[in-house]
Amino acid sequence: MYRRIITLLLIFVTGLVPIFAGKRPLSLSFGVASGGALTRDERFPMKPQWHINLGAGADLPMGGPISLGLGLAFHKTAASSLEGGFLYRSHSGMDCRLYLTAERILLPLRLRDFRIYPGLSAGVLARYDKYELTTLYFFYPGIFLQPFVEIGKAGRLSLIVSLPLDYYFRRDLKLSMSAGLGLSLRWYMRKNYEAF
């Protein structure tokens, strides 16, 4: 399954580059995001869970400030506390995201040699997870919003600090969402292109 997703990602990247290649080049990012998830079942009260995402993404400029992105990550949501004699189970799996990003609409903030661009990504996600210690797999989609700032100076590399906010359409839960802090490195692929 994972091979299929990676193949699709490669087709996406190689196939769409010529169509959308504009002034800004394709960029790749690698990063980590972590934070808290809130989970509530119909029968039991809400509890927080800790989560982490570790993944990569590709962003294709589509003209102007908009780019189209595809992300693939491994994620893990830890079990909640045992308070009340129950817990929300730990699960982990693959996280695939398709999103649009608006960036560089505003003039950057300048801090010495650095420039800081604010941006916003929004899109859909799909997860294929397994409950920890079991052989039970399940699927659920979601939506997400991710405000971020891109920090860099002359070169092809920049740092992105983001605040990802996910909402999951779990059919067995009343509420499932997460928020956190993300850090990633973004690398612009065209030679001699200076991102900042």
Partner: protein, 301 residues
């Protein structure tokens, strides 16, 4: 300010790492059945019935399980000879006792089967055939089919409910709705998951109940829907599954938090059973319910 920061850190720590120290401040009730002495032959039992219907260690399973649960603070009702009337009476008592915040556990060790003759076929989206456990009394209703047990379990007001069945074909009592179990109902050593099936289950989820829904109770079954569950003599003297289950308070606390949850007990019994039967044609694998929640089964020793 320092105190405020300290409090905030404590709250955050409690949020994400808390729960290691909590009181089991609710009542726990258990009905524990282990039937070894069966009528011979069991009337109407489906093809594949053993020539001798008596089992050797299922009563030991129940007695030792009842002892363990009593030591753990459960209020236990134990029986090694169960009629339909007694089952109804025990569930009526549990229904009256177990409140919303309490925990209810049903343990059964004995004969189980799968109805391949179509007598109890369940409608879609259930599996093809009903599974059942067999009670002692041949003169009355002998079989408790999965849906019937599901209804009995659903009638208990407690929100935390656990069902543990050490019997042949017991995997058929699990009524998962959203999860694809990569362990097949007749395990031969390979697992297989399907993203397509998982997407289909998500898309077609209706909440409709069949078997024992994970939203009614968490079930651990000794075997898959199409597997036998075995018992063994010295040094086990129990059903193999129950033998390992009885060890879980000592060895099954996977994350070391002081408690053994249903999932941890499942994982410990499964790991040990697969190891014991590795390479054997009799290999069978426990199964567990899906659903987003898990319950404390034992305090770790």
């Amino acid at each position: 300010m320092k105190r405020f920061k300290g409090s905030m850190l404590l709250i955050l720590a409690a949020l994400f790492f808390g729960g290691c120290n909590f009181d089991l401040n609710y009542d726990r009730y258990a009905i524990v059945y282990g039937i070894a002495d069966y009528d011979d032959p069991i009337p109407g039992y489906y093809p594949g019935v053993p020539t001798s219907n008596d089992l050797s260690y299922t009563d030991n399973d129940a007695e030792d399980m009842a002892q363990l649960l009593t030591n753990q603070g459960y209020n236990v009702t134990l029986s090694t000879s169960v009629t339909q009337a007694q089952l109804d009476s025990d569930f009526a008592t549990a229904r009256a006792q177990a409140g919303k915040d309490d925990l209810f556990l049903f343990f059964f060790s004995g004969h189980g089967g799968q109805d391949l003759q179509g007598q109890f076929n369940e409608p879609p989206p259930g599996d093809d055939a009903d599974e059942f456990i067999v009670l002692s009394d041949a003169s009355t209703d002998l079989y408790i089919i999965d849906n019937e047990l599901g209804d009995l379990i659903a009638s208990i007001p407690a929100l935390k409910k656990i069902v543990i069945i050490d019997a042949c074909n017991s995997g058929g009592f699990i009524g998962n709705k959203l999860e694809v179990d990569a362990t097949p109902p007749d395990y031969s050593g390979t697992e297989d998951s399907s993203l397509g099936q998982a997407i289909s289950l998500w898309a077609n989820f209706s909440g409709e109940a069949y078997d024992i829904s994970p939203y009614d109770a968490l079930v651990i079954s000794a075997s898959g829907e199409r597997e036998y569950s075995w018992e063994g003599g010295v040094p086990y003297n129990h059903g193999f599954f129950t033998y390992f289950l009885l060890e879980t308070p000592d060895h099954g606390d996977n994350n070391g938090d002081g408690y053994v949850t249903v999932t941890e007990a499942y994982y410990y019994t499964r790991t040990n059973l697969l190891s014991l039967f590795s390479g054997s044609s009799k290999v069978y694998a426990p199964h567990v319910s899906g659903g987003p929640v898990d319950f404390v089964l034992f305090e770790a020793r």
